[in-house]
């Protein structure tokens, strides 16, 4: 076929000077700038675009916009492959590669087309009623088969090379839709001085308008108006917020440098005008899915905008006025319009006269009963319709044609208006669902989407064309999901009669087009079958997105490393230079270990922790939550939030504190120091810094407003370094602060402020490792320098930097609880901290901690564990039992033993689990912390750590959780 044989010599809004080459199914084609893939292929005479979902029937183009149900193609290749894109929405560019889908080996010979012959079993709901027997066949066999047959295109299998971003818009008026109505509304608002944002999904403004519109230019000259094309409003959310996606670079081979592929906008509008138009509906007759059958408005758009003749010889079929204009425009571009079939007995006089003038024969009171042809349309059968519209009357005429342009009436695009849960209102004159009272006080609808059109002669209600006697064959409602009139009948017969059941049983409207052209027809047919009127049946729910939207666009670049912010300490650069392996802790990136020549994590942390026990190590503790607590009532406040006593804490001293939730469970712990009379410096765990701060703010603002206390997060103000190990004091001595760090000057739990070469420092003599240790803080600007100085001062002592892994090893040896033990389920008593809890005061959680279950003796409690065979590893997450667990004890999937299993789970003998393990640098073997029923009473006994999944049991000895220096001598020396 000669290229462009279906393109008129002139006309259209295409740029004939710019010829664009692209391929479809491997064949080269040419089009013009301004073409869509659909228009360019139509111009080249291509009629077949894909195979349908269930029956693999050949399919052509139906529409000219996003409502296209049929012509879904895959565009681009490799990492940029995109399946299931309507050809009507693809702008061609040089080198575009497009392919048809759901066919094998090729579009015209498709072996799955056999489904078409097997059609009777693929009818609605067939899965549910078949394949259960024999039971053993379902999964390995039937289900696999079904899954193989599923799906349309092939998804990309590589990371997306393109970028996406987010943007925010604010406006007085958001106008959605750049057709005649939208342009006009925008102009009016613009002239009134309002800030206007107009969005249009297509690349052009004016929608189907044939003549250039003066409003377009007027808008371009207004500073207060922004017009965005290629931008779809895909969802309405609360607060008059609309989600938009701007296709910045989809019409280009690749995005220009610095530009995203798509931009995800949120527009927050004081007022919104919906001007989104209406979708034309197909008519439902036998084989109405043949390539060559399309919507009249689409045929018209191809003719007017693209100067394309969508066929050589056309029949027009309508139940309303609008197709007359299409017929005339088709004639104008050189299509031979053989006949205009109008279902109405009375035809619109003015339009009919014009049509006849153009040489078009009008068959009034008639319908197309069947489309004929194999892979494309060759002819249609036309017959008169009985007055009651129940049957066609003989004789039938066969009219040869390769284009049938149909109009079954119009459906206002109410989708976006309904996203907040409203339902549209049915207008039985217009045969359409209209916005009705859907709209909020700050919303309005204009033009087609408001049902703002008048026909000379009322449309004739015609949801399906009755079949002539003996006629057979499918009449499609939902092209994309292959739903036919028979499916609706079946659903009705089986009792799936609510529209929602109809939808789910037949899959009507559940494809990517969401039934834009189909839903109303389906529910009208159900109404008819039930003998109800359409409003009584109602619509299904309209949900976002209005058109399918790339996940990437909505994620807007917050993927991979950017998924969440990363927080860094001021010392980060040093860690990076030293090759630290980082780990995330509550958004913070912290050094996990600093590998030395090929060390793995185990070797590294054992070495690091070992040095701390014998010499001195330093660790960056900046990420600990730090909260400045100030005010005349600060002491009273701390007394209330901590379970242990704070009233007696002296200035210059620090104390370990435990905080509970209202329900009596441990919330967080940390050290709080008294800087001056009314001034405290609180620390929290890294992970809980935010929640603790928020909770305390709530207490002050909401519950105890009488307390004069201010809280300020100073986590980012201070950089912190823990210096730990027997040589830590010597190291600090070499640092040159003006602080007395002798044991007397700065005893255990002492706090001192001073300076270091002019920089402010605070030194806390506290220890997480169990060794003589200090935490030294300076303001963040000097954090890096302080670290370097500490590092220098530590050189004579062979100081090492250590990471979170060694930190964990040290705290486990010391029996300090942390995240794995503070798991939101444990009480102070469970953690061995019961004696700390004040008995004299009231504090957060002090009432509900006395609920019976929280006081029971057989709760799990903290203990230490060591493997009896010291050479064995322990693993956290292992269960603790008195007996080993053998897989045969509880065979999987043994129905016979199920009744027995319905006893309490304690019957499985589970007495607890290991929370934390480490290789002990001090003891030279594995140790663990565990929560064990009645644990402390079991000290000295032997139990089993069971890795039931692996069938592994390790005999362990229950010991005190304090593996090193239980009396805390090292801390105080």
């Amino acid at each position: 076929m000669p290229a462009h044989s279906f393109r008129a010599a002139s006309g259209g809004a295409i740029d004939r000077d710019q010829i664009i080459c692209f391929t479809f199914d491997g064949r080269q084609f040419k089009g013009f700038a301004g073409d869509t893939l659909a228009s360019a292929l139509l111009a080249n005479g291509v009629r077949l675009y894909g195979r349908s979902f269930k029956y693999h029937r050949p399919r052509g183009i139906v529409a000219a916009g996003p409502e296209e149900p049929n012509a879904l193609v895959t565009v681009r290749s490799g990492a940029r492959r995109e399946p299931n894109v309507p050809a009507t929405m693809v702008e061609i560019y040089e080198g575009l590669v497009a392919e048809s889908q759901n066919r094998w080996p090729s579009l015209s010979i498709d072996v799955m087309g056999i489904n078409n012959l097997m059609a009777p079993i693929f009818i609605a709901g067939f899965y549910y009623k078949t394949f259960m027997w024999p039971a053993s066949f379902w999964e390995p066999f039937y289900e696999k088969l079904i899954r193989q047959a599923a799906g349309m295109g092939v998804a990309p299998d590589q990371p997306d090379p393109d970028r996406y971003e987010r943007a925010n818009a604010f406006c007085d008026v958001l106008v959605i839709g750049g057709g005649v109505a939208g342009l006009n509304a925008a102009r009016k608002a613009g002239e009134a001085g309002e800030r206007v944002l107009l969005v249009e999904q297509m690349p052009w403004l004016g929608a189907s308008a044939v003549e250039p519109l003066p409003d377009v230019e007027a808008l371009a000259n207004m500073d207060n108006v922004t017009v965005m094309t290629r931008t779809t409003a895909f969802g309405q959310y609360d607060g008059n917020c609309f989600a938009l996606v701007e296709r910045v670079a989809d019409h280009l081979p690749v995005p220009p440098e610095g530009q995203p592929r798509q931009r995800s906008w949120v527009a927050r509008a004081k007022r919104v005008v919906f001007a989104v138009g209406a979708h034309e509906r197909p008519l439902v007759f036998c084989k109405n899915d043949l390539p060559g059958v399309m919507l009249a408005s689409a045929a018209r758009d191809y003719a007017n905008r693209f100067a394309v003749r969508p066929g050589g010889r056309a029949v027009i079929f309508t139940n309303n006025d609008s197709a007359y204009e299409a017929a005339l425009d088709l004639v104008k571009i050189g299509v031979d319009v053989a006949m205009l079939v109008d279902a109405r007995i009375e035809v619109p006089a003015r339009l009919a006269a014009k049509a006849r003038e153009a040489g078009i024969e009008i068959a009034s009171g008639s319908v197309v009963t069947r489309a004929k042809g194999f892979k494309k349309l060759r002819a249609v059968n036309v017959a008169r319709l009985s007055v009651d519209a129940k049957s066609p009357t003989a004789p039938t005429r066969t009219v040869a044609c390769d284009l049938l342009a149909m109009s079954g009436g119009w459906s206002p695009v109410v989708h976006l208006m309904c996203h907040k849960g409203g339902r549209p209102h049915y207008d039985s004159d217009k045969l359409a669902f209209l916005p009705g009272d859907l709209l909020g006080y700050n919303q309005s609808a204009v033009g087609g989407c408001a049902g703002d059109w008048t026909d000379e002669v009322e449309p004739r209600e015609l949801w399906k064309i009755p079949q002539p006697y003996g006629g057979a064959g499918k009449a499609f409602i939902d092209f994309q999901h292959d739903v036919t009139t028979k499916d609706v009948e079946l659903a009705h017969r089986e009792g799936y009669v609510s529209v929602e059941h109809l939808k789910r049983y037949t899959m009507l409207g559940m494809a990517t087009d969401q039934g834009k052209t189909a839903n109303i027809v389906g529910l009208a047919l159900m109404a008819e079958a039930r003998g109800l009127d359409i409003p009584a049946v109602g619509t299904t729910t309209f949900r976002p997105p209005y058109t399918p939207t790339a996940l990437g666009a909505v994620a807007a670049g917050e993927v991979g490393r950017n998924f969440q912010p990363e927080r860094f300490s001021p010392i980060q650069d040093w860690h990076e230079e030293r090759g630290a392996i980082m780990v995330e802790a509550g958004l913070w990136m912290r050094p996990r270990y600093y590998p030395k020549d090929g060390e793995d994590i185990h070797a590294a942390y054992r070495r690091e922790a070992g040095v701390v026990r014998k010499g001195v190590g330093i660790v960056d503790v900046t990420s600990l939550g730090k909260i400045d607590v100030q005010g005349p009532d600060a002491t009273e406040f701390l007394e209330r939030v901590y379970a242990n006593n704070f009233a007696t804490l002296k200035v210059g001293r620090a104390r370990y504190g435990v905080m509970l939730r209202d329900d009596g469970i441990v919330f967080d712990d940390g050290t709080t120091s008294r800087i001056s009379e009314n001034h405290y410096f609180m620390t929290t765990t890294t992970a809980n810094a935010g929640p603790v701060m928020a909770f305390m703010e709530k207490l002050l603002q909401v519950e105890w407003p009488e307390l004069r206390v201010h809280l300020t997060s100073v986590t980012d103000q201070w950089a912190g370094i823990a210096v730990a190990g027997p040589k830590s004091r010597e190291l600090l001595a070499g640092l040159g602060t003006d602080i007395d760090i002798s044991n007397e000057g700065l005893p255990f739990m002492g706090v001192a402020e001073g300076t270091l070469e002019g920089a402010p420092v605070r030194i806390f003599r506290i220890s997480f490792s169990g060794e003589l240790a200090y935490e030294i803080y300076t303001t963040s600007d000097y954090g890096h320098a302080l670290w370097e100085m500490v590092w220098e001062a530590g050189q004579p002592f062979n100081v090492v930097p250590y990471g979170t892994e060694a930190m964990a090893a040290l705290r486990i040896e010391k029996g300090h609880v942390a995240g794995p033990e503070l798991d939101g389920l444990t009480t102070m008593e469970d953690l061995g901290l019961g004696r700390m809890a004040s008995r004299k005061k009231h504090y957060i959680g002090s009432v509900l901690m006395h609920r019976p279950a929280l006081l029971e003796d057989d709760r799990v409690k903290l203990v230490g564990l060591i493997p009896v065979d010291r050479s064995l590893n322990l693993e956290s997450g292992a269960l603790i039992r008195e007996m080993p667990f053998h897989p045969n004890d509880r065979p999987v999937r043994d129905n016979a033993s199920f009744e027995e299993l319905t006893e309490t789970p304690e019957a499985a003998g589970l007495l607890g689990h290991i929370t934390s393990v480490s290789h002990s640098p001090e003891l030279g073997h594995y140790i663990g912390l565990a929560m064990v029923v009645n644990g402390p009473a079991r000290q000295g006994s032997r139990m089993y750590a069971c890795h039931a999944v692996k069938g592994e049991n390790i005999e362990v000895e229950v010991v005190s959780p304090h593996f090193v220096d239980p009396d805390g001598k090292r801390l105080r020396d």
Binding site: D238, C241, A694, Q701, W704, H842, V847
Partner: protein
């Protein structure tokens, strides 16, 4: 996007705030040892369909705790106020 009109900051997306549930629950006085009262405060919720008075914390803004009245069937915000009555601090 629920838009919450913070009395300090103006109208903002709800993602700047954290939600903290029913604001009509009365916390027992500090020092109260009435177990039933605490259980009620911590656990029981009227969970109304319709107007709901609830806490939002403007955690990424001014860090004030707000009491917001919002319809749980439409998400419409009916009223916003500071949780703590203010005497100063801006307008």
């Amino acid at each position: 996007m629920i838009r919450i009109n913070c009395p300090f900051c103006g109208e903002r997306d709800h993602s700047e705030f954290t939600y903290s549930g029913d604001a009509t629950k009365v916390r027992p006085a500090h020092g109260s040892t009435d177990m039933e009262a605490w259980l009620d405060y911590v656990y029981l919720r009227a969970n109304p369909k319709g107007s709901h008075t609830e806490f939002w914390h403007h955690v990424h803004g001014c860090r004030q705790w707000l009491v917001v009245e919002r319809d749980t069937t439409t998400h419409e915000v009916l009223n916003v106020a500071f949780a703590k009555p203010l005497k100063s601090g801006g307008n």
